[in-house]
């Protein structure tokens, strides 16, 4: 009975975080992007500086007609948004927010494997949407998604492997337990590679070739409206939360604060995640979209060699310490 209650509580909390944090990131993006462009952003919804803009957007999306194109593969078309969104919920379960067993949805022994594998599934949603829409632009978007997935999964995995090597474990709480402050400079290249590759995987600008609204009209999402489209958008912001959380846990020491154990672990995790989310928004505002070939070039000629170099460095230091 007590176990059931515990599980239910954890699920509710994870679900609440999953629903709230992406909206917070989305609202922050509205406002930060606006101010970086000398604008004010939403000002009306909710009264105070448009805080309820995304709620209003949600209401709008819910009211829209749910259209499935005549030539579409109806089942796949309808399933795609769920496939895009749910993996991020599953990943969130495994991310530790503070020290100890109480601060993680579920301790997964092979945490890194689980997290990266499930995150990869999220991209599948875009592929399904692109293929099932029976639309040339969507298909192009889906193909670009596939190419991007192939190119960027590899550096991401390699960078994560470097951390696993350093910690000697693939469990996320285990990595955090082993974390020392000097890992930060040690793994900095890996962190950058992981973060950039993660951005590309989320199809966030400047790596938003697959959606490229000015070229292929939002790619795989061209034919989507209403709630299903909203789910895709939510998946994007949930992806930001997950990516920033993972980067925090793997490379920035998660709940470790600069003053040692102070009982504020979850604050540190949230703070680091928030700063990273700000950087994600910042990059989006600052840089133009890469061209498709530049995107591939960056992955294969820069990120993968860097990730391999990081692994080599990790190995050398590890051996030297032992």
């Amino acid at each position: 009975m007590n176990d059931a209650l515990d599980v239910a509580l954890r699920i509710v909390i994870v679900f609440a975080v999953f629903m709230v944090l992406p909206l917070v990131v989305g609202q922050t993006e509205h406002k930060v992007m606006a101010h970086m462009q000398g604008r004010l952003g939403p000002m009306y919804a909710g009264g105070f500086h448009g805080w309820a803009q995304l709620v209003a957007d949600g209401v709008k999306f819910a009211q829209k007609e749910d259209i499935v194109p005549a030539g579409a593969d109806r089942k796949v078309f309808r399933l795609a948004p769920a496939v895009a969104l749910l993996p991020y919920l599953l990943v969130l379960v495994a991310i530790p927010i503070g020290p100890g067993e109480g601060a993680v949805g579920q301790v997964v022994d092979a945490g890194i494997f689980f997290v990266l594998a499930v995150m990869g599934v999220g991209v599948l949603g875009s592929l399904m949407a692109g293929w099932a829409s029976a639309n040339k632009f969507s298909l192009l978007g889906g193909l670009r998604t596939a190419a991007q997935l192939l190119a960027y999964e590899l550096p991401m995995l390699l960078a994560a492997a470097s951390v696993a090597m350093a910690a000697g474990t693939v469990s996320l709480p285990g990595i955090l337990d082993a974390f020392e402050w000097w890992w930060l400079p040690w793994q900095i290249i890996g962190a950058l590679v992981f973060f950039v590759a993660g951005l590309a995987e989320l199809q966030r600008p400047p790596f938003d070739m697959p959606v490229a609204d000015s070229e292929i009209i939002f790619g795989a999402y061209t034919e989507y409206t209403g709630l299903r489209f909203a789910l895709f958008l939510l998946a994007e912001y949930a992806g930001i939360v997950v990516l920033c959380g993972l980067t925090t846990v793997l490379f920035l020491g998660g709940w470790h604060g600069p003053l040692g154990a102070d009982g504020l672990g979850w604050v540190w995790t949230l703070l680091k995640t928030g700063i990273l989310a700000f950087v994600v928004i910042w990059l989006r505002v600052s840089y133009p979209r890469l061209r498709e070939d530049q995107l591939q070039k960056l992955a294969w000629t820069t990120l993968i060699p860097l990730a391999l170099a990081q692994i080599a460095l990790t190995g050398i230091v590890k051996v030297a310490i032992n």
Binding site: V32, A34, H35, M36, Q37, G38, R39, L40, M43, W282, L283, V285, S286, Y287
Partner: protein, 245 residues
């Protein structure tokens, strides 16, 4: 020296971050009224009390958007035996703002200062025909005409004020001269009177102090003694008076 690789990326990030800390340029228009520059060309207001129906504005208007109707009225003679005068009375003054191109020629050309620029700009209509505004509306806009902006420091005086000042200066000089003449005449008269009195009071010259105050006021008495050059009344000198007597 070649630029450090990636410095361009950092520069881009710096630009957006700096912009974020600056004040935004968004104008929250319906909530906050814009701060319009002086002499904004919002709408043309009519000060119909000044209008003499000379029709110059309607004739100069490049796109013929000013409509004026009027009739003549006879004004009875002001003085008995005078001539009756006729006067133009404005019946209709309308500007079609769907045609108006805001050139301001009508305002420039009006010799009687009956047309003004007003910064008021919120008069959009849903029907283009409603953009023809009649004299009452144009007169109402007169209340929104701002005071003319102040002159720059050391600017040349406006012609009107310069002319007015010239007239005023002339008038003041004239008045001063008149006052001076009047004063001179008065002083001369007073001196004469004083002399006459002194003559009459010669027998008891033992107390001239008693005789002076009542007749000659200090202004008349001082010039004689202290500064004869400053005192114009050279004619009013006591000896002269005595000589006369």
């Amino acid at each position: 020296m070649p630029p450090i690789p990636g410095s361009g990326l950092a520069k881009g990030l710096a630009v957006t971050l700096r912009t974020m800390t600056k004040k935004t340029v968004t104008a929250q228009y319906p909530d906050v009224q814009p701060e319009l520059p002086p002499r904004s060309r919002g709408v043309i207001a009519l000060f119909e009390e000044n209008c003499t129906v000379c029709m110059l504005c309607a004739r100069e208007c490049p796109d013929w958007c000013i409509y004026i109707d009027s009739h003549k009225e006879t004004v009875p003679a002001a003085a008995p035996g005078g001539r009756e005068r006729s006067r133009n009375v404005l019946d209709r003054f309308a500007i079609d703002f769907s045609l108006c191109m805001y050139c301001g020629i009508c305002i420039e050309v009006c010799p009687f200062d009956a047309l003004f620029w007003s910064p008021e700009f919120e008069y959009a209509e849903t029907d283009i025909l409603d953009l023809t505004h009649e004299r009452d509306k144009l007169r109402d806009w007169m209340w929104t005409v701002p005071e003319p902006p102040a002159l720059d420091p050391h600017a040349e005086e406006p012609k009107e004020i310069a002319a007015a000042r010239k007239t005023a200066d002339k008038l003041r000089a004239q008045q001063e001269q008149q006052a001076q003449e009047a004063q001179q005449a008065q002083e001369a008269q007073q001196a004469q009177e004083a002399a006459a009195e002194a003559d009459a009071a010669k027998p008891d010259a033992a107390k001239p102090d008693a005789a002076k105050p009542d007749a000659a006021k200090p202004d008349a008495a001082k010039p004689d003694a202290a500064k004869p050059d400053a005192a114009k009344p050279d004619a009013a000198k006591p000896d002269a008076g005595e000589g006369d007597a």
